[in-house]
């Protein structure tokens, strides 16, 4: 219980104060029961404001604080750490969101928004009054990681982990490792063949004792939580259980397959970029590019196939990022084989970002011709025997119709997420609208998921090229290391709690837990529910199922919630 509460209301540099009268909120709640100190701040999260709060806590012996600012998603940890530095139990601090849930939602009525903010803060104060100190649980971690997907991202991640002293298990569903890189042909910037990179990594992996690779393997069961997962995998005919501290998903992508007749797909002379790359790699005749026994003289590329589909129902709205650079580089590879080739590129935007711009420039310099089309007016593909005829409304000459005849049409196909239905069912990994794995925060936490201990990297998180995939997989390795190297993790104590006197052992709660954290034990003279703290996520799903109100979540107890409701309805009560 707290009866010396400090309340800090934030201006958020205008984000709150533009729409809520912050001073009025502070003035109104300073008289609330239990409030010993109230203050406003311009940026509560800033270093100096935090130092001031720590001083206030220490000097005034505050035993609880309420911070009314933005969403706990942003600064819950920041302020919990601050409370700890001040000697206050972090669970006697309540975050009240008066920004996303107040100022930003009600930008047109300052008076009403202010009243709402006052109610919200009052509720926060009530909750804090009823709070008790809680201490995190310490769970020992295993210094091993499971990497699902043995493509370049998975392999490089394993090497990075191994270098840092963490045992890496790589589970690959195919019979050989390497993923998409095996067939990719020659890649930029070093002009090596994709499989050469895989061979390089494989050589290094073989030298190490702390990397295990399982091919023809998949994950069939997962139990446990961050720091200590028990994963059952089946590899060929073998079944094994791996005890790992974290799981990294590097399941890669699959190239988009155009539908029959989509831009002429189905005609023998219409192929995807991926297939074209293979053709180039296998071309043996010097000075000539041969396709189906014939010399190719004119090639056309159509970009954005299977990407940027904003008008198509259930289409892939995203940009596949790597294809503009890849197509331009491929065009250069083709020129290398036969400099007399005529190459035509039909694009929507040329997205050769960064230094990949130089491939586009080189391509132009060598004589490739570019045409711009709109999504609303895609090129019209027709054929006459083996000759393809493309009619495009070229935006570069203000919508003139241009007829491009060619021998080979290459559809620059994008990336599509692998379905991984079984895997996703087991892990319950969050999936975004674009069907790739979803990270917690795209800006600052690009490899973490909402599930503690499960990381995503490489193209499973979104389209990217090889160096970007490897970079992200090494970032995932870093995150894993920062998690596991200490040897333990602290688990949030805001987990479910059984009020033993009330529990009748009816077992209705058993099936409400998605994590299977509830079991039943004998306690003196009755059977009651028992929560496994390492597994329980504190989701609160079991709480409403109990007919006796015997379940509550610590930090959100019945008394706390009831007091919040009461204080929010204070005015209504008085009416």
């Amino acid at each position: 219980m707290s009866d010396k509460i400090g309340v800090f209301v934030c201006y958020c540099g205008g984000n709150i104060s533009d729409f809520v009268d912050v001073e009025k909120v502070k003035d109104t709640i300073s008289g609330e029961e239990g409030v010993a100190f109230a203050k406003t701040n311009m940026f509560t999260c800033s270093d100096s404001a935090q130092t001031e709060m720590i001083n206030a806590i220490k000097e005034k012996n505050l035993d609880g604080i309420v911070i009314a600012s933005c969403s706990p998603k942003l600064h819950l940890k920041t302020f919990q750490n601050m409370a700890q530095r001040a000697g206050l139990n972090p669970y006697q601090y309540t975050q009240v969101n008066i920004r996303e849930q107040c100022s930003w939602a009600h930008t047109h009525n300052k008076e009403a928004a202010t009243e709402k903010a006052i109610d919200l803060v009052r509720a926060g104060i009530a909750k804090t009054r009823n709070s008790i100190p809680l201490n995190p649980l310490r769970v020992n971690t295993v210094n091993q990681a499971l990497i699902i997907g043995g493509g370049i991202s998975g392999l490089r991640c394993a090497l990075a982990l191994s270098e840092m002293g963490i045992f890496a298990h790589v589970v690959e569903k195919e019979s050989k490792i390497g993923g998409n890189l095996n067939d990719i042909g020659i890649i930029f910037p070093d002009h090596k063949n994709g499989y050469e990179l895989i061979e390089e990594l494989e050589k290094d992996i073989k030298k190490r004792a702390n990397i295990n690779i399982y091919t023809n393997a998949k994950l069939i069961k997962k139990q446990g939580s961050v720091g200590n997962f028990e994963c059952d995998i089946v590899s060929g005919n073998e079944k094994l259980t791996l005890n790992v501290g974290s799981i990294i998903l590097t399941t890669g992508f699959k190239p988009y397959t155009p539908e029959p007749n989509e831009l002429g797909y189905g005609h023998p002379n219409v192929i995807t970029l991926v297939d074209f790359k293979k053709l180039l790699s296998n071309n043996s005749k010097k000075g000539e590019l041969i396709f189906n026994g014939q010399r190719v003289r004119e090639i056309t590329y159509v970009y954005c196939v299977g990407s940027r589909e904003s008008t198509k129902e259930d289409g892939n709205k995203y940009c596949s990022r790597y294809c503009c650079s890849a197509a331009n580089y491929t065009s250069l590879l083709a020129f290398d084989i036969d400099p007399k080739l005529k190459q035509y590129h039909i694009y929507r935007d040329i997205r050769t970002y960064g230094k990949y711009e130089e491939y586009y420039e080189e391509n132009l310099r060598r004589g490739a011709l570019f045409f711009k089309y709109d999504e609303e007016n895609p090129p019209d593909i027709s054929s006459k025997g083996e000759r393809i005829k493309i009619l495009v409304k070229d935006r570069l000459i203000a919508k003139d119709d241009i007829l491009i005849p060619c021998d080979l049409l290459v559809l620059v196909n994008g990336m599509v997420a692998n379905e991984n239905a079984e895997l996703n069912n087991i892990l319950k990994t969050p999936i975004g609208k674009d069907k790739f794995y979803n990270e917690i925060h795209p800006k600052l936490r690009p490899v973490e998921t909402v599930i503690d201990g499960i990381f995503i990297a490489g193209t499973s998180q979104g389209p990217k090229n090889i160096s970007e995939s490897v970079t992200s997989s090494m970032a995932a390795a870093s995150k894993t290391a920062s998690l596991l190297i200490k040897g333990y993790v602290n688990i949030e104590p805001t987990i479910a709690h059984v009020i033993e006197e009330k529990c009748t052992g009816c077992k209705l709660c058993e099936h409400s837990c998605p994590y299977e954290a509830i079991s039943f034990v004998n306690k003196t003279d009755k059977v009651i529910a028992d929560i496994n703290p390492a597994i329980c996520k504190g989701c609160g799903g079991c709480v409403p199922d109990c007919p006796e109100d015997a379940l509550e979540v610590l930090g959100y107890t019945h008394s706390q919630i009831n007091s919040m409701i009461d204080s929010m309805l204070l005015e209504a009560k008085e009416c």
């Binding site: 990075a160 840092m164 940009c319 997205r351 600052l444 992200s472 090494m474 970032a475 290391a481």
Partner: protein
């Protein structure tokens, strides 16, 4: 931080990549030293408004990272510091780091910001892209971590540096500029007494060194000082009695009350000593009393002297001649300061002058009764020093016919040019190469030679000799006897008198406290700023200012003061010409106001040397300077701004409280954005794409549309590169907000009379016509270039760069973040421009590389 330490990793640069890699390594248990050149970490990200594609507030997502970095147990942040050199040492690295002098003690500073409000020197605010000024004493920005003030001082301003007395000329000017005249008077008194007298007769070496001297003419510092003095004396016709807090029980005797003796008394009395001034005549002031009233009014001199004698611990003994130094010691004086000045000995005159009507110059100036007799008489003044000029000009004022004779050429005359010119302009005839015995037609002859040091007191003592010698501490051969002023140097000027007395007082103080005189430095000031440094800061284009026009009395030949004090308004106007050469002017307003006593101008840069196992270079990027693309008019047309400036205008800690355009503060209604300024352009030597500009332009466009719902916004592009996760959807969102997209890069911008802009472009997709669009504000989406200062610490070691001067990654596909030096890694935009999520990922890869490298080293491989 102690002088030498060992860390596992050194991270150079505290932007988002530097912070991310530091936190990751810190979480893994490694000890990290993060060095940041600005006073706060946060890099460029903290300055942004919102970020794409989520439109999160940039401050909101970076401040927790900044706080986490600063609060992390394993991370030490060294701010306001630069890594000067990184060398290999066996199997690790040593780094030399320079912590710049901030003049603020961070342990005491609370970040309250009072110093910033009190500071009188404006400089351009680099955190607001030079859109607004900030002060020399400043806190980087409101969300700064650490939130501590720093004071920017490039060196001592030339005017202050050249003053022999050490008066803070720049401080006086900056205070006057802000109308703080009383504060200026008090600042002056910190270094020297006799404000009024010096404001009249100082030769003003400060003005000769003033940087504006190379332009329209120097700032009239001495005239500004006049105003300060006059204003103070108007408010305080008599000084308040002063009593220092701790009166020391030590007595010091000062013999002679000329300017050096009086000043020495002042300095020593301020320190708390009991000072007794012995003066043989009936007035204090020495030779200052001889200066004619038209240059130095008597009441001013008297008031200055009163200011000194108002110290209750100064005792004045007029009409008292000291005959024996030994007796002074017996009387309890623990130290004696000889400042007896010079005297004139009639016996030394040439024989030819032993006639009735020859008066020696000094007697002439002393005996005012004789002046009436000069009327209409022919007066010959023989001599070439200032005293001679004074005599001539006094005679002129009493209606005499005056000629000045000198035995050699004009160039040999020791009088100041101004004095000679003024005398001639007032009507004196100048006769050069004249001979004393050939003088004709002279009713009166006034004879002026340089007086010699008055050593009469030394007769019979150990020090008796033809001249009084002092060492560098103004100390004679007898340790408790010091000397200063003309008695040591011969006839000189008031500046030398006061400066030697200041030095003497400093060393007498040390002497009386039994401190070795060699151990402390008298002049510990920062070296003067060099002229080319000042020029560089102003980009060789100094703002124009007006020339100084002195106010002079019209009827020059009166006995009243010739020079007049100018008005307060004019003073302020002249003071605004100050270029603030040294940055901070040391006006001490911050010192006075700091509630935590945190400001300390004796702080100097500190060198640290650390040993580290690995280094991560994360020094970020630089923006393309849009003025290089002259055809867009950036820097010429006020309403053409660049994207960083726009982001600042939109940021929560923005310079203006709304989106307004610079020329007239009008809210723009028809805005244009031009992409690819400085990128994809061989003409400015940057043919590659800067990756983030399309996206930040879409972001800004959306924010502007949100802030100005009725405005029209057009984006002129070559390609729209929205390639990342969520970016294409963001582009779509922008289109739906009604933002107009035109394919056709703007080729040229011209300004019309209303400061609106005409953009010339080819409307490629529409009809291919060349069009001119009129907009009221234009934002240039500038590209991002490499920050080549990343290479500076690598002098012996060679850090490879790529063709675009970024730090080279040796194998980007398999070994991201790895450089050409084993053990040195690179994170973020130092290696190639990238957006924030890619920088965060890259920092993760760098951390993995660094951690792997250290672990491998420790395994002994």
């Amino acid at each position: 931080m102690s002088d030498y330490k060992k860390f596992d990793a050194l991270v150079v640069g505290g932007g988002i990549a530097g912070m991310e890699s530091s936190i990751l390594l810190g979480d893994m248990g490694f000890k990290v030293l993060l060095v940041e050149k600005e006073s706060s970490i946060g890099g460029k990200m903290i300055l942004l408004s919102k970020v794409f594609p989520t439109l999160d507030c940039s401050s909101c997502i970076s401040t927790p990272k900044m706080a986490a970095t600063a609060a992390h147990n394993n991370i030490t942040v060294l701010n306001y510091s630069e890594v000067e050199e990184i060398k290999k040492k066996e199997d690790s690295f040593t780094a030399k780091i320079l912590k710049k002098a901030s003049f603020v003690d961070p342990a005491k500073c609370t970040g309250c910001g009072q110093c910033e409000l009190a500071c009188t020197v404006p400089l351009l605010d680099q955190f607001n892209c030079d859109l607004i000024p900030r002060r020399a004493a400043y806190i980087a920005f409101p969300q700064a971590v650490p939130k501590k003030a720093v004071i920017e001082k490039f060196g001592t301003s030339p005017c202050t540096f050249v003053c022999p007395v050490g008066i803070k000329a720049h401080g006086l000017v900056s205070l006057s500029r802000s109308g703080k005249f009383e504060e200026a008077y008090l600042l002056y008194l910190e270094d020297s007494p006799m404000v009024g007298t010096l404001s009249r007769i100082c030769s003003a070496p400060c003005e000769k060194r003033c940087t504006r001297n190379q332009l329209e003419g120097s700032i009239p510092i001495r005239n500004i000082k006049r105003y300060i003095a006059d204003k103070h004396f108007e408010s305080f016709p008599t000084p308040q009695k002063k009593e220092p807090k701790n009166i020391l029980d030590k007595k010091i005797a000062i013999v002679g009350s000329g300017p050096s003796g009086l000043s020495a008394a002042y300095y020593l009395a301020k320190k708390g000593y009991k000072v007794t001034i012995f003066e043989s005549s009936d007035k204090l002031g020495g030779k200052l009393q001889l200066i004619p009233e038209y240059l130095l009014p008597k009441n001013l001199l008297d008031r200055d002297i009163e200011e000194i004698t108002s110290y209750q611990n100064i005792e004045v003994k007029l009409n008292t001649t000291v005959s024996s130094l030994g007796k002074l010691k017996e009387d309890g004086f623990e130290a004696v300061l000889l400042s007896t000045g010079t005297c004139h000995d009639k016996g030394e005159y040439p024989d030819v002058l032993k006639q009735k009507n020859v008066i020696d110059a000094i007697s002439f100036l002393q005996n005012k009764e004789s002046y009436e007799a000069l009327s209409s008489k022919n007066v010959v003044v023989f001599g070439g020093n200032n005293i001679a000029m004074h005599c001539a000009r006094v005679a002129l004022r009493h209606k005499a016919n005056v000629s000045i004779h000198f035995e050699k050429d004009r160039i040999d005359m020791s009088a100041s040019k101004k004095e000679i010119d003024d005398a001639v302009n007032e009507g004196a005839k100048l006769v050069l190469n004249s001979q004393l015995d050939k003088l004709e037609n002279a009713d009166f002859i006034i004879y002026s030679i340089d007086p010699k040091p008055d050593l009469s007191l030394l007769k019979g003592s150990e020090l008796e000799s033809s001249s009084l010698k002092v060492n560098e501490f103004q100390q004679t051969q007898i340790p408790w006897i010091f000397a200063c002023g003309d008695v040591t140097s011969g006839h000189s000027n008031i500046l030398k008198a006061i400066s030697t007395s200041k030095k003497a007082a400093f060393y007498v103080d040390l002497f009386l406290n039994n401190i070795d005189l060699h151990s402390e430095k008298f002049d510990d000031r920062l070296p003067a700023v060099k002229p080319n440094e000042i020029k560089e800061r102003y980009n060789s284009s100094f703002p124009k200012h007006m020339q100084f026009l002195p106010h002079l009395r019209a009827d020059k030949l009166s006995l009243e003061e010739i020079e007049q004090t100018i008005s307060e308004e004019e003073i302020k106007k002249y003071a605004t010409g100050c270029l603030d050469c040294g940055g901070c002017s040391e006006c001490h307003q911050c010192v006075n106001i700091c509630p935590a006593n945190a400001i300390d101008f004796s702080i100097r840069p500190v060198n640290y040397e650390v040993e580290v196992d690995t280094v991560i270079v994360s020094t970020g990027f630089k923006l393309f300077d849009a003025s290089k693309k002259e055809i867009f008019g950036f820097g010429r047309f006020p309403n053409v701004i660049d994207a960083m400036q726009m982001d600042r205008i939109l940021a929560p800690t923005r310079p203006y409280n709304a989106v307004i355009r610079p020329s007239d503060g009008k809210v723009p209604s028809n805005i244009a954005m031009i992409l690819c300024v400085g990128s994809r352009d061989k003409k400015v030597n940057n043919n590659i794409c800067s990756r983030v500009c399309c996206m930040y332009s879409l972001k800004q466009a959306q924010l502007i549309m949100g802030a100005l719902p009725v405005a029209d916004l057009t984006i002129y592009y070559i390609d729209i590169r929205a390639f990342g996760k969520g970016y294409e959807e963001f582009y779509h969102q922008a289109k739906e907000m009604g933002i107009r997209f035109v394919k056709g890069k703007v080729a040229r911008i011209e300004e019309d009379e209303e400061s609106n802009l005409n953009l010339f472009y080819e409307d490629i997709e529409e009809d291919g016509q060349v069009k001119i669009a009129n907009h009221d504000m234009v934002i240039l989406s500038v590209g991002l270039l490499s920050n080549t200062s990343a290479f500076e610490p690598f002098k012996d070691l060679k850090l490879d760069s790529d063709e675009h001067m970024f730090v080279k990654e040796v194998d980007e596909n398999i070994e991201p973040a790895k450089t050409s030096i084993d053990g040195i890694f690179v994170a973020g935009t130092s290696t190639a421009i990238k957006d924030i999520p890619d920088s965060v990922l890259h920092a993760g890869a760098a951390a993995a590389q660094a951690a792997g490298y250290i672990s491998k080293k420790r395994r002994g491989l």
